[in-house]
Symmetry: D2
Subunit: 430 residues, 4 copies
């Protein structure tokens, strides 16, 4: 493992100084595929509601690397030694875990029917600068990094540092998203969480003296979900992007004659064979730049969606309490809109979501364990009364999002209002 | 209501600037009975475990005044107007609510069998500078202030601003104790809590958009209780003070001939008729100064307790899981100690405590209400799934505190160890 | 002046909550020309060195509005009443002062030979949504706002709130840039600065009790300039953008056949008559998107510059102490590079800069005055010994920036090294 | 060097966690002489003006230990290795440097005509628990620690870590006093200062990349001096304490018959031979407790001063511009007060002070050196233009403090006013 002649340092408001001492890490950061993350916002469209949430996946990835590095130091001090190559595996997986994200990731993936994890894998394994660097470090290393990120690596301890209920990724993004949105709720006690980390039977557990910090972490996560990630305006803006990209895809598929040059979009939106280099060209700026072009296209829906996207013309949200006949009432609203010539693919969405604050029965993630005085690791909800209290209390949200301007401008306005009122169970005046 | 010619300002790390514009408020702050609060630590002996928890009841009282003032402004803006005299009543009650606290208050009250609230009332109503100022403002005003603090005032809204599940007092102390201990857990979103306060049917409720901030507040309170207020070392130090003061009381009652001049203590500790001016002479410095004198007294227990108090000779804690026979086992431990000539009044304590994070059935405090979209106030646990989860999950603590040095030095050491092990259910090596 | 039915609020990590109560302000914020500022970074390319400096001119503009609003409140409380229309004039000028900025503003203006202030004026006065809203408020109002921003308005007090040595703009950007870069040096005592603001003879002065806060502000500004705004990497990246845009302009003027569709760029880069709507289409994303296209153009210099721009291929800096013959030595270095076929327009820059921490003789900005005990306003350097000390101590910087990879790859490498060494006065090994 | 079985940790709002791993350090902290520092406020009477400045010398001393420990780590990483015993010497000197401080130290020393540094030395070298522990570590070690603190140790590098223009003591107190007063001015960039520390020719120098952080440190120090340490109210309160203690001393010397038991005070105030154990009995609480007793003594001046001390009856300050005849005018004011039967020893003070922000010619402290690109250490004012600007700009303060209530109540009031006006050069209305 080669060290840098001079340590490199990034200033970070969350972690003070992020140091890079390994040559490989520095070269990975300087690779074009990693620099691209500077041009993709961590929180997609959340800046629509929290104006300062403009931070990128680039600085988040550095933060995950930093926390992974600290975890290695803590565990090392506690007697869990990693080999040089295991250490580098952890650091690379931490740094590169978000490589495959596209712009406004959730909507982008929904419309293109892709998964950013596939693209992370492809960037690691195909003909890229990142792959070149990883293989230069050690033959087969890119596959190892990919396996850790995909949770398929046999070393479960290493996997759990990158992906578990309390991993380097989540610890960084809670702190970071809290700082950049300005909401105080994501502040967690990183120092204590790290200080109380132990390895027990090959699995992470936290000393009992850190249990309160873990409770606090779970509570912060709950708060950030409901106040930031699932904020009505964030969701609304995501649906808008989804509408815009869906429209673009439809027009490309239909052979619509764009005025602007759509060669770049064609491969992703109208073929099934996506070249990794084309994929890597997409970032937030490409979407906003083309939205600018779309303002001058002849298709009225495309123009309208591009304008709403660029100028914050949000869909309006209406919360409702789901009833047995809600699905039918929703269909009736959709039909009424279609009859009024409002494109429901673009302008109507039904959001139904249920989320647990902490669920140790989850398939994906390992549970959080507390190391009790008798030296045994126990799943936290069996030890903490407050976690026990919330583990079975999922929170639900049912919300209709629609383009209110189109409803207002419709000749069938009253009928649409009635259909909406029937669904949400209260009167509205659009 | 007279205004000050020049506004006075206190710099405050929590609230930035605390302004005083009313002449009465300024004069109350300058009164000797209020200045005395500078000499009483807000958290008693908590600095034993959190070394920087050295802040006084003086600055806390200013903070409560500040928050009450902001509450008045918010409610006023929302249409709930207070008269000049109601406004002053709120501010005075907020400022003066802690006036009757003695040094290391909890232990002091336990030993003297008094209640600081009685002394707050007496300082307000008897012949003091505070009383003189309040009566100078308006005849009968001191009684009104006293009634608000004692929760007996007919204006329930005003009472609830000062004393309820979420009042100016608690909001300040969570923020303040968090700042001065350095624990991040007490940070609450004061701005949002204040911004979403409303009056509904004469009772405080919080807009639904503030519900997450209230959840966060309740969670912070839970964390501060278990990490700070009920920290083993804090409890241990409190028991130590209690032992010391109990010994002093016993010696005074027994007519022990002190070398130092105990006139000041005699009235409080050995009579039932306490003059308010004598009471006001007691502060943290008096206790530590006399502990210094006690180091040279002939009574060995007094000397030992004074030395432990001054030099952090903490009692040692042993957590245990209560069983049916725990009371008997505790008695057996106590008997064994007495037989070994260890004074259990001074050196053995059994702490059993159960505490809810939030209990809306409490007798003392009003529940917390959320104003839902339909304009109705609802008790928060019926609206928030996470509060519902924790409302019935009280946390319990059972701990033995004892003077380990005396056990170690005892000829019966092994026997004492066995009695302790029987109670706590695990082996110890003292 | 129309008020909003419901106050709007932006969460802000700097100012907690930024409230909007005026309908006009809200509508201006929602206008496309203002929403465009979301897509222009406040600090251009500074995120190249401070990765989290990704905040936009949008959130900064809201912050300037917020500070201006607080200034109005403070001055109003001190007896300087503004009419409704003056108040709105201040708020609009504060909010809209940055409207004309292009992407990576400094380089953009240099290459296009334009001034963003002209474009701010044009956006205010020509056929835009912003103009429509301002004129809807009051005929001629757009001209008034433009005059305040251009410092030509007869009301000098209002001008000074927006543009002076210590104005709403600078107060916000120091705090904001400090927060988002993570450097502690820009933290200033906004509360005290605002609290001590007074109007004396129609001009802003600060009470003597605020003088230390002003000293601190000037010192913070000094620090932010030299640590952030004039950081070598920021400067280097700016020169890179300048090179890229200059190359684009030259190719467009030369009639080079681009593979990508350059209609959008043509008007700005190759004509003298720029339509305001075309100008408004430019943002950071447009530049990065086209840099992506340029990677596939046939012009090698364009490809190289685009790649360096996207992937952080910075020019390397060499500080030097200017000597009498430095200009000739610089020319010799440039000649040597040209002879080695390295395009000095793209790859060589000479930066010479001198800057005072505070200069009250500046033509553009008013001095900072302190209100002394005798009621007279005095320029701060005559009152503060520390400001007197630094007022005549400008700091200088002379630095060469060049593309080291081209030097390294050159057959004339040694000769180029020598020419560089002659200029900077020390040996280098490229 | 013995390590603790379990590392001990102090929570600290400034440094997050302060770890103790050495058995000796832990035992020194637990020694009575060190625990006493809990009962002495770091800033004496500054809480009179900044109410939350209630932190003790105990937590400050832990902070100095922490910073010294970090300095050792940094220098070690840079190649300056300390032996185990040198390391322990640095840590002990850092931890124990303030051991000899009395309550309200400056006034206490002035009245008793003692120097706290003598007492630090005596506590280290005489028959104390601290001495016992240090000698137990290594014979002669207490003398070594004393020599480092007294700046007499031959290892100048070690001395400079504890006492120089930028040492562990100052770094901690600026951060700490800033945090606890709530003034933002003392915030310094500790991370960068530590990171850029180097040893050059056996002397500390800072890398050029840390120069801005040093400039900021010097500026913060300037601000803290003038805004906190030399705040009028702090000074006024110090003079009050001085008056009170001077009166006590005079009465003790005069043989005045106190009602309260003054045995403790007698040795310190009325003999020249002070036993170290008696000295160690004095803390803030002893002074406030006896002030409480003094309220009931028959001497009117003593009663008045005690009441002023306990209840914030500050002397009033009057700034003036010194003239040639100021000394005579001061004498005339003093004479007028004496003639009006106002005790000038108790009630009149003349404060004349001049202070440089940074003075590298100081005898006591070493200069601050910057390591420039050529590998040479240079005194900072020859490298930094802003420090050059302020190095010769000392700030001056001339202020009269007097008991305004006595002037007001005097029959000679008008005459006293005139004498005061003559001195300060402007009219006053007492």
């Amino acid at each position: 493992m080669q060290a840098l002649a001079d340590e490199k340092v990034f200033k970070c408001p969350i972690h003070s100084f992020i140091r890079v001492t390994d040559k490989l890490i520095w070269e990975l950061i300087e690779a074009p595929e990693f620099q691209r993350l500077r041009r993709i916002k961590q929180l997609g469209g959340t800046h629509i509601v929290y104006p300062t949430a403009e931070h990128s996946r680039f600085s988040h990835s550095l933060g995950v690397y930093f926390i992974a590095r600290r975890m290695i130091d803590v565990l090392n001090k506690q007697g869990t030694r990693f080999t040089d190559s295991e250490r580098m595996l952890i650091l690379c997986a931490a740094l590169l875990h978000d490589l495959g994200h596209g712009p406004f990731s959730h909507s982008f993936e929904t419309v293109l029917n892709i998964d950013h994890e596939d693209f992370t894998r492809r960037i690691l394994l195909e003909h890229t600068q990142i792959n070149h660097l990883l293989e230069g470090y050690q033959t087969g290393f890119s596959q190892e990094v990919s396996d850790v990120i995909a949770k398929k690596h046999p070393n479960r301890l290493i996997v759990s540092l990158i992906s578990s209920e309390i991993d380097a990724d989540r610890l960084d993004y809670l702190l970071r998203d809290s700082y950049f949105t300005g909401t105080p709720y994501g502040e967690i006690d990183l120092e204590r969480i790290l200080r109380t980390m132990r390895v027990v039977n090959g699995k992470i557990a936290f000393k009992h003296s850190g249990m309160h910090a873990i409770e606090d972490y779970l509570f912060s996560r709950y708060q950030m979900y409901w106040q930031v990630y699932l904020h009505d305006c964030s969701l609304s803006f995501n649906f808008l992007i989804q509408s815009l990209l869906t429209r673009v895809k439809k027009l490309l598929t239909d052979g619509y004659a764009f005025n602007c040059d759509m060669r770049l979009f064609h491969e992703l939106f109208a073929t099934t064979d996506i070249n990794i280099n084309t994929y890597l060209r997409f970032d937030d700026g490409v979407i906003t730049t083309f939205a600018g072009f779309f303002l001058e296209e002849s298709d009225a829906t495309l123009r309208d969606l591009a304008s709403k996207f660029l100028n914050r013309g949000l869909l309006k949200e209406f919360d409702y309490e789901p009833q047995e006949n809600s699905p039918q009432l929703y269909e009736q609203l959709a039909s009424a809109m279609e009859m009024a010539n409002i494109d429901t693919v673009s302008y109507l969405f039904n959001f139904n979501h249920e989320q647990s604050t902490y669920d140790h029965y989850g398939l994906d993630c390992e549970s959080i364990d507390i190391l009790t005085a008798d030296g045994i690791s126990r799943e936290i909800s069996t030890v903490s009364n407050i976690i026990q209290g919330i583990v079975n209390a999922p929170k639900k949200k049912s919300t209709i999002f629609l383009a209110l301007d189109h409803v207002k401008a419709s000749a069938n306005k009253e009928q649409l209002e009635k259909a909406l009122e029937a669904l949400i169970g209260r009167s509205v005046h659009v």
